[in-house]
């Protein structure tokens, strides 16, 4: 029951799916429920849409299998955010539960205090909560009565004694004028009003508060000028959100509705027709998603968030199969897929830094599985980041059970990530407590798939997160430094750049070929070489070849600069020299020259020769030789040749980048 957003199915499969689903429908309409179920289940493996889950639930209800019906009704939550389907699924789940067919779940008393019509929101919340094992007992205040209920300590709210209070409020509740001559005063007063409501609740009740943040309106009369006017409502709503975020203590959680309304599209979030008709401040089609986000935050408030991410390796952390493709063959670091896997690893590391435990579960020989961690320069996740590393040929459900035991956490703390649908299905079937995130086929969308999984939500930073706090501090210091840096030199120094310069390695060749093939701006000669030619340079002792990787305090930029030179007597002639545009203006070129000078000295060359061949795009590199002390020796209509007298001038030195030359 646990998992799977529906978006993973490809259009091709959904076409054939719908034919199969129609076959199931036909069987169902003839009363052949068991046969229909067989067809539906097969389809649900491929593309578990909400509609399909609901059909399965109804079929099971018809044959009297209420536990199965309830489970499929809950599966709707993971299979899409269609309001009508959720509505029907809740009705069905409720019927099954009232027959005693469903496990009870953890009981939580929730008071829903709202300033708009929440009749439609209520069933969404109930369904989303059951999905995470929470059985909500709900109290709803009368329409628009949230303040009265809070301020009157003899109200039904206080008699109900909720464990959680949900403040479902919206932007129009804010007491802010459309334009304020004194915005700071108005913002402070409005934040104080909400703070008083929170405090009244927390004083009168032993409860936690979940507060829906205010959605900044998208219809803005001041237009773009509003971004500069703190006194217009647009700016004040943002300021109140920030102020409330700062005021919220540990027992108040805020659902960042503005972020997710933006994600969803504010034009859909706010439908004036339904507001005018029925005071629906949140459009119906956004309610399922709002419910899932609200429950994720509520769940975190109860300390029930998921704790551990169990990762597959091949085609999950890198492209390809390490045991077959080898270290140089896997896709990681360069190319579209290679960059996507790096981005995915970096996203995972961010999760780790907020307290998520990382584990590996891979079908591989252990030595093969470890290899990229030990040897691949573009691996972001290191062995140190992995709390438990399991690579063997046992079935994954068995491994996952043992891993939970070894980590001493419940199976319901685990989240399983695997590109292989067969493994995902095995986990779903044999260890249903584990949540499964289905990865889409295209690794470019892996980060998005993971970001849409909501149950890693945390309510506060714990002690283990101190490292993250340090990071914040570092950032703050950077901002300070940037302010203080009065000269460019200060700025370079503040970046704490580190470079590693190496001869070309087999592992780096694809990235080097890519840079040579596409770099246009900082490219002195724009000579394009294929892999075979590069391999020939590597083998030829008369060639010097340098590849530079750059890292600073904030990011690892990877392999960003390449230089190829040919020895000609006692002159070292620069054939190719280029640099990725993301590191232009950071003195990287000086480090390259410094390293080249050292090589030249070792080879007993007396001078360096450089050529600049102008193209439409490389003007910015035209004066680089002049800048570093080369003398012009020839000019053939813009094509220039330069000489650097190494013996007399000594090596170029760059003090801004700490360089390790290997």
């Amino acid at each position: 029951m646990s998992d799977s957003r529906a978006q993973t199915s490809s259009p091709a499969t959904s076409v054939s799916s719908s034919a199969e689903v129609r076959r199931g429908d036909a069987l169902r309409s003839q009363g052949q429920y068991a046969e229909a179920i067989a067809v539906y289940v097969e389809e649900a493996r491929r593309a578990p849409t909400g509609a399909l889950c609901l059909k399965l639930a109804r079929s099971y209800e018809h044959i009297g299998d209420f536990p199965a019906a309830g489970r499929w009704a809950l599966a709707v939550v993971d299979a899409g955010d269609d309001f009508t389907i959720w509505q029907a699924a809740w009705g069905l789940y409720h019927r099954c539960a009232s027959k005693g067919a469903m496990p009870a779940g953890r009981s939580v008393k929730l008071a829903l205090l709202s300033s708009y019509t929440t009749t439609q929101f209520r069933p969404m919340l109930l369904l989303a909560a059951h999905r995470v094992g929470i059985q909500l007992e709900m109290y709803e205040c009368a329409y628009g009565q949230y303040q009265q209920e809070i301020l009157d300590t003899s109200s039904g709210l206080y008699r109900f004694a909720p464990d959680m209070v949900l403040l479902a409020v919206h932007e129009q509740d804010l007491r802010l004028p459309s334009f304020s001559p004194a915005p700071e005063r108005d913002i402070e007063a409005e934040a104080a009003r909400w703070l008083r409501l929170w405090e009244t609740l927390l004083n009168g009740l032993k409860t936690r508060i979940v507060h829906h943040g205010f959605v900044v309106p998208s219809d803005v009369p001041e237009g773009h000028l509003a971004a500069r006017l703190p006194g217009c409502r647009y700016g004040m709503v943002q300021a109140v959100n920030r102020r409330l975020g700062g005021l919220a203590a540990d027992n108040v959680s805020i659902v960042d509705c503005d972020r997710f309304a933006s994600w969803f599209g504010k034009q859909r979030w706010w439908d004036p027709r339904y507001w005018n008709l029925a005071k629906q401040a949140v459009a119906l089609d956004t309610l399922p998603l709002l419910a899932r986000h609200t429950v994720a935050v509520l769940n975190a408030g109860l300390g029930l968030s998921r704790k551990c991410l169990v990762l597959d390796l091949d085609n999950t952390l890198w492209g390809g199969v390490i045991a077959e493709d080898g270290l140089a063959g896997i896709r990681l670091g360069s190319g579209v897929d290679g960059e996507a896997y790096v981005a995915f690893q970096e996203y995972i590391l961010t999760l780790k830094s907020k307290g998520v435990i990382l584990a590996v579960c891979s079908k591989n020989n252990r030595a093969d599985a470890l290899l990229p961690f030990e040897k691949h320069p573009d691996m972001r996740i290191k062995l140190d980041d992995i709390a438990l590393f399991v690579a063997n040929w046992e079935p994954k459900p068995d491994n996952v059970r043992r891993m939970a035991a070894e980590l001493n956490i419940g199976l319901d703390s685990l989240v399983f990530v695997d590109d292989n649908p067969v493994e995902r299905e095995a986990i779903r079937q044999f260890v249903p407590q584990v949540d499964v995130i289905p990865l889409p086929e295209d690794p470019s969308y892996y980060v998005r798939a993971l970001s849409q999984y909501l149950l890693f939500e945390t309510n506060s930073l714990t002690s283990e997160d101190s490292q993250r706090t340090e990071q914040y501090r570092a950032r703050a210091q950077y901002a300070e430094l940037e302010k203080q840096a009065t000269s460019l030199d200060d700025f370079y120094a503040s970046l704490k750049m580190e470079a590693v310069i190496t001869p070309f390695t087999e592992l780096d060749l694809p990235r080097i070929a890519q840079l040579i093939g596409k770099t246009n701006q900082f490219n002195l000669t724009t000579r394009r070489y294929e892999m075979a030619q590069l391999e020939a340079f590597v083998k030829d002792p008369n060639y010097v070849h340098l590849a530079l990787r750059l890292r600073d305090r904030f990011a690892d930029h990877g392999l960003v600069a390449v230089l190829i030179a040919r020895r000609d007597g006692n002159v070292l002639d620069i054939d190719t020299w280029l640099m990725s545009c993301r590191v232009i203006g950071r003195t990287v070129e000086a480090s390259m020259l410094e390293s080249l000078c050292r090589r030249a000295q070792r080879l007993r060359c007396m001078s360096l020769q450089g050529t600049y061949i102008p193209t439409e795009k490389n003007a910015l590199a035209a004066d680089v030789y002049e800048k570093y002390g080369f003398s012009l020796t020839r000019n053939d209509g813009g094509r220039t040749t330069w000489l650097y007298d190494l013996e007399r001038k000594g090596a170029v030195v760059n003090s801004f980048i700490r360089t390790e030359a290997i």
């Binding site: 269609d82 009508t84 509505q87 009705g91 004036p272 027709r273 339904y274 008709l277 089609d285």
Partner: protein, 83 residues
Amino acid sequence: MKIDETELHDRLTAVFREVFADDGLNLRDEMTSQDIVGWDSVTYINLMFGLEQAFGIRFRGNELAELRNIGEVKRVITARISA
């Protein structure tokens, strides 16, 4: 785009059955909220939303408030589809 009478009736019936959770519900043009069990202000909103989704249309704001019987619902949907 046009939609024929039978198709409209069938698709409409499917939405009503979904919203009112009644697989045996059969519609007639003269039916009003009085004739359908569970038709109240809440299910009415769900119904309007369900129809917009199912037919890929948007009612005008005032139409949302004015639809009184099945015949009217059909007339407005037809108008919106061919608009």
